[in-house]
């Protein structure tokens, strides 16, 4: 009894300290979410806008209309492609960075972080200059081969744009995960007969897996919710969830349907993140 009381005391003492933070989270996160949930059950009327009721019509509309299902599919496809590409590029770079020493390392980390200083909108404009008709890539190819290549408003453009934004996050997350793995473990593996590549797969990869999972989840969530990049590089016909729901919310003033879209997007992201985590061997899960 006495021990229980003692064990409880620190928890009780911490309660007043935790209360403000808990309150902020409740007010700023949970309350708006509940509000969005409530809105999504309302009915939309072009003249009266939002009519308070409880209906599943918004969700039914989403499920029934092939257009919206296609938007969700595109969003998922882009997010998965971006995540795979970011891992393919980010894991080797993160590994090299983690094993670097001294001044070069500082320079390379800086070079990785620096693009983040430029906002995603400005970066998208940069890509537009590259991809547009008569842009850098198009003009160069036309000059060289006679055939231009127009990438603007294509999946390639959107995926390139999102990858360029997400890659630094993936690299830095992977780097910090690999830095906790002693380089001597690789040397030990090599001395036991594993070629460097094999030593990586047998020792570094499984140990870095939790960190790589975090990187993948981060990248997936960012890609699912990308707004500026698909809007600017995908154009009006390349539809992803975030721009679509903002259009419903801002231009159509259809808050109930926008809320339903927001919840569908959030739920899909959460479910897929959890499912992805299940694919990983239990002891490496986060």
């Amino acid at each position: 009894m006495a021990t229980t009381g003692q064990a409880l005391r620190p928890a009780r003492a911490a309660a007043p300290l935790l209360a403000p933070a808990t309150l902020v989270v409740a007010v700023m996160l949970v309350a708006p979410l509940l509000l969005v949930l409530r809105f999504s059950l309302d009915r939309y009327d072009p003249t009266e806008l939002m009519i308070e009721t409880v209906t599943g019509a918004n969700y039914l509309r989403f499920a029934a209309d092939p257009f919206y299902r296609a938007v969700l599919r595109t969003t998922l496809g882009v997010a998965v492609a971006c995540t795979v590409l970011c891992l393919l590029l980010g894991v080797p770079i993160g590994y090299r960075l983690a094993r670097m020493r001294g001044r070069w390392k500082t320079a390379c980390v800086l070079a990785t972080v620096l693009p983040l200083v430029v906002g995603s909108t400005v970066r998208a404009v940069g890509w537009m200059i590259l991809f547009a008709r008569g842009g850098v890539i198009d003009a160069t190819l036309r000059g060289l081969t006679g055939h231009g290549l127009e990438l603007m408003y294509t999946t390639t453009a959107v995926v390139s744009g999102i990858v360029s934004i997400n890659l630094p996050f993936v690299i830095l997350t992977v780097q910090s995960a690999i830095e906790t793995i002693d380089a001597e473990l690789e040397e030990a593996a090599q001395s036991l007969g594993a070629a460097p590549g094999r030593a990586f797969w047998r020792v570094v990869w499984p140990l870095a897996l939790p960190g790589i999972t975090v990187a993948a989840i981060l990248c997936f969530i960012l890609a699912m919710n990308a707004y500026a990049t698909p809007y600017l590089l995908g154009g009006p016909r390349f539809q992803m969830m975030a721009p679509l729901l903002f259009w419903e919310f801002g231009t159509n003033n259809n808050w109930p349907f926008a809320s339903a879209l927001a919840l569908v997007l959030m739920t899909t992201t959460l479910v897929l993140t959890a499912a992805g985590n299940l694919l990983i061997p239990r002891r490496y899960r986060i």
Binding site: E187, S191, L192, A195, P196
Partner: protein
């Protein structure tokens, strides 16, 4: 199972030589210990043998064949690290099996070998544990048998005992020595701890600033140090720099730090030189005692260390000697301030000329160890 030869091996980093023409020939089954203070190049040398550092000059030969072109994973060297470097995500048994898996050893053979190795390390009961559930000593035993499991041609040990506490150090050190000798493994160990080195080695290599100072048995390095650094490092001699004045009879006079020592021997030199005195071969005598091998002073510090008593004796403003005598002897612990004479025989002193080469005795002849023993007891 091989003869390992280092031929003028060198590694240059910018202007600094991390290792400078290190030459060494290790016959099959011998255990050589590279010893020296940190930054002396011993670890660099070991890593060049393992293949993780590319030498800038010289060669590494295994049975007369250069292995420099072989990457680490094809050198077949068992490597044991200071912090064990066990794979934290694999069980003890999987750790030990790792090298065999990499070699594609068939499963039944592999399992039998792992079992043999675990028995060797007395770890059968812990086979399925993860490394972090093991004590330091157990982890290092796993690391050792993991390296032995692949039946390496050479065993390389990088400070294998440094992370263990004193009691475990002796135990794991014995394990390493027994397993190494049983397997007849050519072995190179690196350490900064001279007691560890003395206890483990067949032969010692003392290094400083990337260069080999002396190679030889424990006795070679202790009794016949090649230079003042060796004399000072092995057995922690008191090393004094000063001026030697030759005399016609008795011992030479050595002046340093505001005091003088009457040496036990005579040497063919005059002027600047270095004298190294072994604390455990000095003894305290009543004040006033003089003759070859003596100096007069005052006790500054006295400690009883169990097996020995240690006195710090002040002979001059800048001149102090450490005297260590066994408590089993018939002497007593002096109090600070006591006036004493320090006495020694020729076996306690080593004299080096200005170029750090050891000077031979002229007179008297070195005293045989047995007479030395009787003299010490009769004096006390």
């Amino acid at each position: 199972m091989s003869r390992l030869t280092l031929d003028r091996l060198g590694k240059r980093y910018g202007d600094a030589m991390a290792a400078d023409s290190v030459s060494l020939d290790i016959p099959q089954g011998e255990m050589v210990v590279l010893l020296g203070p940190s930054g002396c190049g011993k670890t660099t040398t070991l890593r060049m043998v393992a293949g993780f550092v590319t030498p800038t000059s010289g060669d590494v030969l295994l049975d007369g064949r250069s292995i420099l072109r072989l990457p680490p994973h094809r050198r077949e060297m068992g490597l044991v690290f200071q912090n064990y470097a066990l794979f934290p995500h694999l069980s003890v048994a999987r750790n030990v099996a790792f090298g065999l898996e990499m070699r594609g050893t068939p499963r039944p053979e592999r399992e039998a070998q792992v079992q043999r190795m675990l028995e060797l390390a007395r770890l059968e009961a812990l086979a399925e544990r993860l490394p972090r559930a093991l004590s330091g000593g157990q982890q290092q035993r796993v690391a050792l048998v993991r390296a032995l499991a692949i039946q390496p041609r050479v065993l390389l040990l990088d400070e294998p005992l440094s992370n263990l506490d004193a009691a475990l150090r002796a135990e794991v050190g014995r394990d390493i020595r027994l397993l190494q000798r049983e397997a007849g493994l050519t072995t190179v160990m690196v350490t900064h701890d001279q007691d560890e080195a003395m206890a483990m080695a067949d032969r010692l290599v003392l290094m400083r600033d990337g260069r080999v100072q002396q190679t030889g048995t424990q006795e070679d390095l202790y009794e016949r140090p090649a230079n003042p650094f060796v004399a000072g490092f092995i057995g922690r001699s008191t090393v004094l720099r000063g001026t030697l004045h030759a005399t016609m009879h008795g011992g030479d006079v050595f002046a340093t730090g505001g005091g003088t020592l009457l040496l036990a021997g005579r040497y063919a030199a005059d002027g600047a030189c270095t004298v190294a005195l072994r604390p455990e071969r000095l003894r305290l005598a009543p004040p006033g005692e003089a003759g070859p091998g003596s100096a007069a002073g005052t006790v500054e510090l006295a400690s009883y260390l169990g097996a020995v008593r240690e006195h710090l004796v002040r002979l001059g403003p800048e001149l102090r000697l450490v005297v260590r005598d066994p408590t089993a002897g018939n002497t007593r612990l002096h109090a600070p301030g006591d006036a004493v004479a320090v006495r020694w025989d020729a076996g306690a002193e080593r004299v080096f000329d200005a170029a750090d080469a050891q000077l031979p005795f002229l007179h008297p002849e070195p005293i045989a160890p047995d007479t030395l023993g009787t003299r010490m007891t009769s004096d006390a």
